[in-house]
């Protein structure tokens, strides 16, 4: 059996494990859930190691790998923030993770060597960090769906998630800008993905200030829920339905 198939099997197993973990959470078997998620994370990491070996580069260069990173981060952070999230919030995060990982059944699994432009340290610094930021924002959005963001504890948690994500996303944009300057001679171009990344950056940057503005504070949760939609457009919409050069 070749390595590519082994990697794919690892990923498929880890996706099913996340699905099982949802059932365990639902029936409140928390201990099983934890072990299953840890196993799933371990298998996904193995999948990435195999891809890196086969591609001779960081394995974040195609759509399967992109969705798999999001899958990994979402399942990891469902575990990391276990105590701060309600059962239904964890279930929704895990469903999101499962859908992201399920793309393994949809996308063609091909090992394509990365084109020359991607062969730079700025690329692996730019992409996974932005996906980590998406993860924090997704969790903040899901928290806002089920919990009242006006309650201090929830508000602090959401703010913390946004602050983490914003710092990461700003670093990601800086690294992306440096890469753009070295590869295309411009740190910003009118490309749909870049424009929507800027939209996200402005949007969540604005939300860092929302607690200071009385008029908008009561609508905080709705902004975070809208944020989920903006991330989906930035991540999926521009990748599949626009003329972006950042297509998967």
């Amino acid at each position: 059996m070749d390595l590519q198939i082994i990697g794919r099997i690892f990923l498929i197993c880890s996706v099913y494990l996340v699905l099982f973990s949802i059932a365990f959470i639902y029936y409140e078997k928390k201990e099983y859930y934890k072990y299953i998620i840890i196993t799933s994370i371990f298998l996904t990491i193995l999948f990435f190691f195999i891809r890196a070996y086969l591609k001779e580069f960081f394995p974040f260069t195609d759509k399967l790998e992109s969705f798999s990173i999001l899958f990994l981060f979402l399942s990891f952070y469902s575990l990391y923030y276990f105590k701060k999230l309600q059962k239904k919030e964890i279930i929704l995060i895990l469903f999101l993770s499962f859908f992201s990982g399920s793309t393994v059944f949809i996308f063609e699994d091909k090992i394509n060597y990365p084109p020359p432009y991607l062969r730079t340290i700025w690329y692996p610094l730019h992409v996974p960090i932005s996906f980590l930021a998406y993860t924090f924002w997704f969790i903040a959005g899901i928290k806002s769906i089920f919990s009242n963001s006006q309650i201090k504890e929830n508000s602090i948690f959401i703010n913390k998630l946004n602050k983490n994500a914003y710092i990461l996303f700003t670093f990601s944009m800086i690294f992306g800008g440096i890469w753009g300057y070295l590869a295309w001679g411009a740190y910003f171009l009118w490309d749909p993905k870049l424009v929507w990344s800027l939209i996200l950056w402005f949007f969540y940057g604005n939300l860092l200030h929302i607690d200071m503005i009385k008029t908008f504070k009561p609508y905080k949760r709705y902004f975070y829920i809208i944020g989920i939609l903006l991330i989906l457009i930035t991540f999926i919409g521009t990748g599949f339905f626009s003329r972006s050069i950042h297509k998967f």
Binding site: Y113, I167, F171, I174, W179, A183, F188, F202, I213, S242
Partner: protein
């Protein structure tokens, strides 16, 4: 004074302005996506393109430009407010200085982008082994070119050694690759690899009597009894056939005759009687000035296609990025202090 700073740097106004910017960017993204004839994919930020001439389709951009200008003023005063609060407070709140730095970084990035929008210049040029003068950058030639390939023969990277002199006569030699451009003048000027190719530079002919191979390019000629044979041009047809134009000139410079020699696929053409008079191929000779020549091969050389960029906003953008990075690091550091 403080009152005016607070009004101009009002946070609620800043929040609304940011929402407006977001709405305008979304509008712009949709407009650009569906008007590919006006907005070519992946085009750079050139304000002159938007204002010269004014077009109704650019309305989103004009609104965005004005909103960003007001937003710039707002964050300037907002950050100034943070700075004043930090300076005047007895018990220093370091979050204020972090906020000041973050906003200052953003402001500088916006200003840099404005400068870029007005003054950016892009060009494309091919560089071979002959020195090429690039406007405002210097004179450069391609010293060597190596292609790195994957196992499946797909391109991995290019290592091109570019040598020459910049406009201040400084000698420059730099290895260029896809993510390693030649950066000049504090980053405002760049030469970036776009691609590399082989181009025909001449022809190799075989003399029938001596079986001697003669290499002919633009820098030399073949001396015959009564004149010279020159290389006039080399071109590749759409069907992939190379055509090399040779010119025979008598010593007195008057009587000239153009001879065409061909490469791949030309053999079939050479079978046609009419063409036999004009072409020489590997198996069909041509007599020029009492000597008989056969076509042997095309001479090729490497050529590098590069993009040249001039962007005077780069140093300011870099300063903005540095300040923003410092603010982010301070933010992380401050969070750790609070946590501990």
């Amino acid at each position: 004074m403080n009152k005016y700073i607070k009004i101009l740097g009002d946070k609620k106004a800043g929040f609304i302005l940011t929402l407006l910017i977001i709405i305008l960017l979304i509008t712009g993204s949709i407009v650009m996506n569906f008007n590919t004839d006006i907005y070519p994919p992946f085009f750079e930020f050139d304000i002159n393109y938007f204002i010269n001439p004014f077009k109704i389709v650019h309305l989103w951009f004009y609104c965005l430009f004005i909103t960003l200008a007001i937003f710039g003023i707002n964050i300037f005063f907002c950050s100034l407010d943070s700075l004043f609060i930090f300076i005047s407070a007895e018990k220093k709140d370091y979050r204020k200085i972090i906020s000041f730095l973050a906003h200052l970084g953003l402001l500088l990035a916006l200003l840099a982008h404005l400068i870029e929008g007005f003054f950016i210049k892009t060009g494309h040029i091919q560089i071979g082994d002959n020195p090429v003068q690039i406007n405002g950058m210097g004179t450069f030639y391609l010293k060597s070119l190596d292609k790195e390939l994957y196992h499946n023969q797909k391109l991995k990277d290019i290592k091109a050694v570019l040598a020459g002199k910049d406009i201040n006569e400084n000698i420059i030699e730099k290895v260029l690759s896809y993510n390693e451009p030649l950066i000049l003048n504090s980053g405002t000027k760049e030469i970036l690899i776009q691609g590399a190719a082989e181009t025909a530079s001449g022809v190799s002919l075989r003399k029938e009597d001596t079986n001697e191979y003669i290499l002919l390019d633009y820098n030399n000629n073949i001396k015959t009894k009564n004149g010279n044979i020159f290389l006039q041009g080399v071109e590749k047809t759409n069907s992939g056939i190379w055509l090399v134009y040779l010119k025979f000139q008598l010593k007195n410079g008057t009587n000239t005759q153009t001879v065409i020699t061909g490469y791949k696929g030309i053999e079939e053409i050479c079978e046609i009687e009419e063409y036999k008079k004009r072409y020489i191929c590997r198996h069909i000779s041509k007599e020029i000035d009492e000597e008989v020549y056969f076509f042997s091969d095309i001479l090729k050389k490497d050529i590098l296609t590069v993009t040249t960029k001039y962007n005077p906003g780069v140093p300011l953008a870099l300063l903005g990025i540095i300040i923003m990075t410092v603010s982010l690091i301070l933010q992380i550091w401050q969070e750790r202090i609070i946590k501990n």
